[in-house]
Symmetry: C3
Subunit: 377 residues, 3 copies
């Protein structure tokens, strides 16, 4: 069978997966006005259990792994995380009616990783019996943190430049203004002080802004509930014998819990659509295109690692999916704290309402089908 028919068949098969079915089901019942509510406490514990399971799997695998294999994929993950922000900076941010800072924040969110999307990809890989390195999930923070750090740094540098320019313009016009005014020294004794003290204040501000502290951003990302659950799972997988709870609890419940979370994400995506209408329509275009572009870049880099160091095709799919995914849990609060002037409606709406459904419903089957077609051909 030729490459394209293989790919199409695999793609259609995956749409019947319960994972995608629950996502679409959630959107449909939200659109029909269902009053079904999954309580927030349940969402929180589901996210914990999914990422703990992913972490435990990874931790147990790392014990028996040759970690030098991980170096190239991890480096590519870092590269994609940083690149995604610059793509947003030089495409989305340049579009009409798009606020630059909002665009940079959106890039950060699309570069960051969604644990739920990754969980969905792992489930689909297992359903399709496609092998992957168990440590592949541990690539998550290598893409997530650089993306958030880069977005916050780039946004602050931009704001800084803008402020400098504005301050320069202001002091110029001030000087012009002053030069045009008849000055009566005795009357306004402190007048000349004003611009200079203002300039000093601005200079202080700028120097503070120039030194955007990177470590607090990294720390905040690592402390987020999703990432800290996964890292704890890795640590427990490495240093204890968690097989008994893993086999009786975290592993068997994984798919079912994921199905509930997919439902929630579908409902959430529908309810966030309204927020998107408030911002420029270019966000919609970006949210549809970006996951696929990011995914293809990562897929390409993953294939390099595949041929260079034997990185599995399943691993390539995971790398592509985490690139295609956009953060839903840990990303938004970190960005809100790091870029307080960005409009959360823009980046959260774009990610939750469009980015995530595209990543789960389109990018996962796409890259999985692609890998199967490459592996099968």
């Amino acid at each position: 069978m030729d490459f394209f028919s293989l790919f199409l068949m695999d793609f259609v098969k995956q749409l019947q997966s319960p994972t995608l079915g629950f996502l679409i089901g959630g959107m449909v019942i939200a659109a029909l006005g269902s009053e079904l509510v999954i309580p927030e406490a349940i969402n929180q514990i589901i996210v914990f259990m999914l990422l703990m399971k992913i972490g435990l799997t990874g931790g147990q695998a790392i014990r028996n792994s040759n970690l030098t294999e991980m170096i190239l994929p991890a480096a590519f993950a870092v590269a994609v995380g940083i690149l995604v922000v610059f793509i947003a900076r030089y495409t989305l941010a340049k579009l009409p009616k798009v606020n630059t800072v909002d665009a940079i924040a959106t890039g950060g969110l699309f570069g960051a990783v969604s644990g739920s999307t990754m969980a969905a990809a792992l489930t689909l890989l297992e359903e399709q019996k496609m092998p992957y390195e168990a440590w592949a999930a541990a690539l998550y923070p290598f893409m997530d943190i650089p993306a958030l750090v880069t977005a916050i740094v780039v946004a602050n540098i931009y704001l800084n430049h803008k402020k400098k320019r504005r301050a320069a313009g202001e002091s110029l016009s001030k000087q012009e203004y002053l030069s045009k005014q008849p000055v009566a020294a005795g009357d306004y004794p402190n007048q000349e002080d004003y611009p200079s003290s203002r300039q000093e204040y601005l200079r202080k501000q700028q120097s503070a802004d120039n030194r955007v502290k990177i470590w607090p951003i990294v720390q905040e990302s690592l402390q987020g509930p999703a990432l800290s659950a996964m890292l704890l799972g890795i640590a427990l997988g490495l240093f204890t014998q968690p097989e008994s709870v893993y086999k009786s609890f975290y592993d068997p419940l994984f798919r079912g819990l994921l199905s509930i979370l997919m439902l929630v994400m579908g409902m959430e995506a529908w309810s966030r659509l309204g927020e998107l209408r408030k911002v420029a329509q270019w966000y919609v275009v970006y949210s549809v295109v970006a996951p696929l572009v990011h995914g293809f870049i990562a897929f390409g880099l993953g294939m390099i690692a595949h041929y260079a160091t034997g990185f599995s095709l399943g691993g390539v799919v995971i790398l592509a999916v985490i690139a295609a995914s956009s953060s839903d849990i840990s990303g938004p609060p970190t960005l809100r704290a790091g870029i307080p002037s960005a409009n959360p409606s823009a980046y959260i709406g774009a990610s939750t309402a469009i980015g995530t459904p595209i990543a789960i419903g389109l990018a996962i089957p796409l890259f999985l089908g692609l890998a199967q077609a490459i592996g099968g051909s």
Copy 2:
């Protein structure tokens, strides 16, 4: 062994079922003042998971079913749902100290279906290894929605008639009053307008009331959390391949989650007893007798379907139990919105404190025992 001893033995055996045990246990610990609390978020997710499981089972079964078999039982379900409201209208509502609108609302709630009670019946059927059509659970909305719609329509027609009569009496007495008064036209220029404008207002009101809109009630029922979870489950069972999550998650956890819900319902039943004391004691009599009467009517109709179209005895039990059950989740808010003048203490107290325990603890073993005795004799 004769029919009656067979029945008695089966009845006693079922009282040892954990499902009933947890229900009675909940009542006992609530009576003893236990501070045990099952958080509301847990109740919500349990109801979701039970009805999702029932829906998935049904949806997967419908794929392989001859749905023409379902026509007669579904028609009987609709008939029972409507009939139950009229029974309440012409028995409970006629009793002394019983408010007619409250009685109609109570009839609507007893005609509507409890997902938890149905889940308990399905579990007991499985424990007793009594086969039933997997689509039988899908009879739920066919009884639930007609009951709620009928109750709201009947209540509004009643309120309407009452208003008309009152308005007629009022305008009559107004006319009498006016005819008896010496009219001084110049003094009261707008006097004659008053009754006519009032009548117009009433006429508008009445015409609005006469057109009780049925579709919003149906829609609201379908959008309720319990029913929309079940319908989503049916859709996912029909259109996706949910076997993996069904077998690893929804199916194995079903009984355990049901045991927690039974405990909650037992505790809730005890705590609602107080509300019942506020309303006429006839509600207590109705709540004890009605589930059994409704169940026997449905059991009889089910037996007709059994002999006519081969509807299984297990299916007959399910039809009888959903008739005996009274709604606990989706019914009350729909009724509150549809009949705002009815007193929720009356209908919720009657259903939760007495109707549901009678349905689960008495009607399920009764109809199951009856079916086993019929099947075994």
Copy 3:
């Protein structure tokens, strides 16, 4: 192999258990500032499910047990529960800067039992394949209730004596004061009444205090969420056939749910450390030493029962662990109600921040290792 090496090996092996791993992991991520939160609703349902499972196990076992075997261990449990309070009364309470009432309350909490710690011990016994009587978990209330009752009674007797002494001193000084004042009867007609009415009031108070009612304390303990879940489980295990839900739900989920609870307890322990700093540092010393002392006393009494009536070594470990444990759920509210003048920061901080981690992380492996060494040598 000699006794001590056997013991050391067992001790180290248990530190790799996931139960302890999650506890330590919780402390570590809390110390690192993780924002991971396990919602309160989840904690509540986990505690319910653990104690329901322990109760169901016990209830099913008691059906087939010779309960006369239970008499001696139960008597020892009562003795330890009472003794622990008196130990605190005559050690901790005598230390400098320690408030006597706070110390008695702390003793009550350390005498009371933690369901989660007991669950951890049962899990470790099963992991180590060490047999124990299934009714051993039912020793819980025999130690828990006497400890709380004793603490409340002892605290009230102490407060009473203090008040009497103070009242005596006060009325004396009042008399002295009065005797020194020039009395003008007409001016202060009610003056002499004051001390006498005050004394009457105090007398009434004292007589009320002298009759510290024991039954309400027992009742309140039994009604607490943890104990009433366990007792309900025992009752359901005794009187119904809960095997289906036990095998499909409560039993398989036990270890996994315990792992989440251990994580929560670790995080909670860390966050309570601050409270401990507010009270005298002797609480830290007490919290470290007391669990081991109490455990050794109970271990010794358990060994008497082992040689006298054949109480299993696993049962001895359970007796020692429930003595070492300090109550985390049901104890604090009972104590707060029974000894309102005690400072909760003192007893809750000591128990949660140090007592529980010591009991789980040190006492369980210690007594388990000791029993294995005794059994193996």
